[in-house]
């Protein structure tokens, strides 16, 4: 299209942005990262180093895996301007379904997993249908779902716990990726580091961490170079370096700790791959872009030719599949399905997403933010448990952290507006 320049000269109100201004406009992202580091440092000190012991780091990941898996779906639901209160119950129901299929009905593990994931999708789709096409508020639809599926798990399990699961199902949650490198390498590496308590270092875990760190830095550098090329305002060099050093060091540190215990948990791989996929979908695909538009301004999105109903429907169906996946992991981890599984867990998931910077009104939030938010909650849970703080105080502290994060958001927004 060839549009002639208007006769008035453009006078861009360009302002050189200082570092201070950069910080204030990106306070949220850095704040979250620093909060996580500060909380970890605090618990590391007050628990006399227990927090970051190899076995505890492994535990931390396993304990939070199902929260993170569900947070991925919840982020999309919340960005689209909705909420899903049913995920805890759906998770419990799917765990119950898996237990009944495997333990009571003697079905094979692969078939069970397949049926459970499909069932999760159907449950999500059923709820999404009412929200998307009947315009019933998601709060109400999923509140109903929460009650219905809680009741269904009770009915399915007849009020009993069902278990245990066969080994091949348990490895979903408790298995570790075997080291592909020769055992002797790991042994000599352990000797080299002169770690007395550890006889063997899992080289695969460590190598994965180093490669992941390298990839993160490489992607960052590439993006930065492109931003420069297109004249996009970028973060100051010092921030870029500091952020990348912290992230890379954290990745290597965590995998190093894992390598001292039993290596990479299967769940970590699942979680990592899912996180990357969902981060990619939300940031660089048309469907992700449309979800943000839908949550940001539904009417404008609709008038821009976006099929808002279908998108809402898909967001819920996707949430259902992820809740099912989380349900399988949870059941495998406990090695039993109980009627109370997943009780009130939806609140932890929703809290993680909001701590991660998502907005209740939709259109705002990131996958990475939600994952970091989930870890922040996880570290709080874990650290306080190690310290022996009672569940009463734990709940209060978690509640206040959530409130503080959201107040911080609102304060920032008001200041900018």
């Amino acid at each position: 299209m060839d549009l002639a320049q208007s006769d008035t000269n453009p006078t861009p109100e360009v302002k050189a942005k200082g570092i201070g201004e950069y910080i204030s406009s990106h306070l949220r992202q850095y704040g979250l990262l620093f909060a996580l580091i500060a909380v970890m440092a605090f618990f590391q000190i007050v628990t006399d180093g227990t927090l970051l012991r190899a076995v505890n780091v492994t535990n931390l990941l396993l304990q939070n895996s199902y929260i993170i898996i569900m947070a991925l779906g919840m982020l999309i639901v919340i960005v689209s301007g909705n909420i899903d209160l049913s995920v805890g119950s759906v998770m419990g129901f799917i765990g119950a379904l898996a237990a009944v299929m495997i333990v009571n009905l003697d079905q094979s593990v692969p078939l069970t997993i397949f049926v459970c994931l499909v069932m999760g999708g159907v449950i999500g789709a059923a709820q999404g249908y009412w929200v998307a096409y009947w315009k019933i508020p998601s709060f109400i639809v999923t509140l109903a779902g929460m009650l219905v599926f809680r009741g269904l798990s009770l009915w399915l399990l007849e009020g009993q716990s069902v278990g245990p699961f066969p080994k091949e199902f348990q490895i979903l949650a408790t298995g570790f990726v075997p080291d592909i490198f020769p055992v002797s390498w790991g042994d000599s590496f352990a000797n080299m580091l002169e770690i007395r308590r550890v006889k063997h270092v899992n080289i695969l875990a460590l190598a994965t961490g180093i490669v992941a760190a390298a990839v993160v830095v490489w992607l960052g550098l590439r993006q930065r170079a492109q931003n420069k090329l297109y004249g996009i305002e970028d973060e100051p060099r010092s921030f870029f370096i500091a952020r990348n050093v912290i992230v890379a060091a954290a990745l290597i540190f965590v995998t190093y700790k894992l390598s001292l215990f039993r290596g990479l948990p299967n769940v970590l791989i699942t979680m990592g791959v899912l996180t990357i996929i969902y981060a990619f979908i939300t940031q660089t695909t048309t469907i992700g872009r449309r979800v943000y538009a839908l949550g940001g301004n539904q009417k404008a999105a609709k008038l821009s030719g976006i099929k808002t109903e279908r998108l809402t429907f898909l967001a819920f169906a996707n949430m259902g599949v992820l809740a099912a996946a989380a349900g399988l992991v949870f059941a495998a981890r406990l090695n039993t399905a109980t009627p109370k599984a997943g009780f009130a867990l939806e609140l932890d998931v929703i809290a993680a997403v909001f701590i991660g910077g998502a907005s209740m009104s939709g259109g705002v939030g990131t996958i990475i933010g939600a994952v970091v938010g989930a870890f922040l909650m996880g570290v709080l849970n874990n650290g306080m448990s190690i310290m022996g703080i009672g569940i009463d105080y734990q709940q209060m502290i978690k509640g206040l952290v959530l409130l503080a994060a959201v107040i911080f958001d609102v304060y920032n927004k008001n200041k900018q507006g």
């Binding site: 006769d7 695909t285 821009s304």
Partner: protein, 504 residues
């Protein structure tokens, strides 16, 4: 004696100077009309007066009853007896007339409402404004005209000294308007001073004792109307400039018929038996700018939105042809793919995702154009956004600026950019210059002329008749859901358009 004196009032919004040293003097016991074009600053001035923009957010001095007044909020100004009735009525539809009248001002002792007194006083007030309805009737169940009267009754319940009516008749039918104006005259007899904001000059002539004309945020003149006043005098002051200077020069040579809509009928989405559009047929040629004139509520937006992917109404029937081929406009994406774009009337609630960047908004309606296999090419996206930023002269530090931070004119350009990127053949522009300043308007007019020069068909819906007369080759006149006339630019005038509307 002056009841109110506003002196040198200035008010600036980001990117726009809405008021520039405006003066307004209102005598006790008169009806004072404030007139001006859309966007001249009338409503902003009234918001300053009523405390919507509290003291400190504007410059200048307000004297009320001879004393300096510094209202900090609407409730503060109401305590002093200044009561404004806005264009958009502030009634709660689910509450009764009585409840609405005494909302926030209940007849109550320690929080317990005295319903007998409430109803008795409501009946008195309703009698005063001439509204025959029971106090317990829900506001939702009465028409807009009667709702307007409830608003006035509400004002009267509060010991009003100065009543401000912001475009009170904009949404009213002819006879309802007349009743309202008569009520104003009656209230004047009872000693109520009022300010009426309007751009319907016949109404101004009917009720006003003095008229203040505002143009581009400045006071142009204050005329005494008691001895009679001619509409021409007011119009001259309102418009000020020659028409030729307000609209860029253009020479057009429309080609063959591009878009043709035939026998378009639309029913209301909720009231099933109400027909909103009746047998509308119109056409646009390539390289032609066609206007649709009509009052607010005449069905112009509904016509456009029902064509654009059935975004409005139900039981829609009729045919849409583009280049002589019938096209499918049954959903928004199909309409876009067929080559139709609709630039919405309200850019903030319908046009933009305000919390997102210029780049995000520019590509939103055509993400396929910046992606391959549904993966976005973000550098390409940036390039496109930069291209439109330059082509439309969007004033911004970068395309990564959130659109919420832009001025109205620049926001409108982003919305235009979004639709230009869908490569439409026909653009429907609904009130494309509403609420933006004069300079930005001129730029939008330039863009429209460029689009026509490229051979696109442009349909322009506008409430500003001078704008239609200055920009269009042909003008359709719409009234009560039907196209009641078609005028060629050469023999169109405000009077002819108006008479087509009135004679229907």
């Amino acid at each position: 004696m002056a009841l109110l004196s506003m002196q040198n009032i200035s008010k600036t919004f980001p990117g726009v100077k809405a008021l520039d040293r405006v003066n307004l003097d209102v005598k006790k016991g008169e009806i004072h009309a404030v007139v001006g074009e859309n966007g001249a600053g009338k409503s902003t001035l009234m918001k300053v007066l009523s405390g919507v923009y509290p003291h400190g957010q504007y410059e200048g001095e307000i004297l009320f009853e001879g004393k300096p007044a510094r209202f900090s909020s609407i409730s503060d100004s109401e305590r002093h007896g200044v009561i404004i009735i806005h264009q958009e009525l502030a009634l709660v539809p689910q509450l009764s007339i009585a409840e609405n009248i005494f909302l926030g001002n209940e007849c109550a002792t320690s929080g317990v409402i005295d319903w007998r007194q409430t109803n008795r006083r409501t009946e008195e007030l309703l009698a005063k404004v001439g509204l025959m309805e029971a106090p317990s009737t829900l506001v939702d169940n009465i028409g807009v005209g009667k709702q307007q009267l409830v608003e006035i009754a509400k004002a009267l319940s509060k010991d009003v000294k100065l009543l401000i009516l912001d475009e009170p008749t904009a949404a009213l039918q002819e006879n309802d308007s007349r009743k309202l104006l008569d009520l104003m005259l009656e209230l004047k007899e009872q000693g109520v001073t009022s300010i009426i904001i309007s751009h319907k000059l016949n109404e101004v002539r009917y009720v006003a004792d003095s008229v203040t004309v505002i143009r581009d945020g400045m006071t142009v003149s204050t005329l005494d109307a008691t001895a009679g006043i001619s509409e021409d005098d007011i119009v001259r002051d309102m418009v000020g400039r020659d028409m030729t200077h307000r609209f860029p020069e253009h020479v057009r040579s429309p080609g063959k018929v591009l878009l043709e809509v035939k026998d378009w009928n639309v029913w209301h989405p909720e009231h099933v038996d109400r027909q909103v559009i009746t047998d509308a047929s119109f056409s646009v040629r390539a390289g032609e700018v066609v206007g649709i004139a009509g009052l607010m509520g005449s069905g112009r937006t509904e016509l456009a939105m029902s064509i654009f992917g059935r975004s409005y109404g139900r039981n829609i029937s009729g045919s849409v042809k583009l280049n002589d081929n019938e096209i499918d406009v049954s959903s928004v994406d199909r309409a876009i793919n067929a080559g139709i774009s609709y630039v919405t009337e309200d850019r903030k609630t319908l046009g933009l995702v305000l919390d997102e960047t210029i780049r995000f908004n520019t590509t939103l309606a055509n993400l396929e154009g910046v992606s391959s296999g549904s993966i976005l090419k973000r550098n390409e996206e940036t390039r496109i956004a930069e291209k439109y930023k330059d082509a439309l002269a969007i004033r911004t530090p970068s395309v990564f600026q959130k659109t919420v931070n832009l001025s109205g004119g620049n926001q409108q350009k982003v919305v235009l950019a979004k639709w230009l990127f869908t490569s439409p053949e026909v653009l429907i522009l609904d009130e494309p210059t509403r609420g933006i300043d004069v300079g930005a308007k001129y730029e939008i007019y330039n863009i429209i002329n460029d689009l026509a020069a490229e051979g696109k068909g442009v349909i322009m819906i506008s409430s500003e008749m001078p704008e239609l007369l200055g920009m269009c080759d042909r003008i359709y006149v719409m009234n009560e859901g039907a196209l009641v006339g078609e005028l060629d630019a050469s023999d169109a005038s405000q009077e002819r358009i108006m008479s087509l509307i009135v004679n229907e």
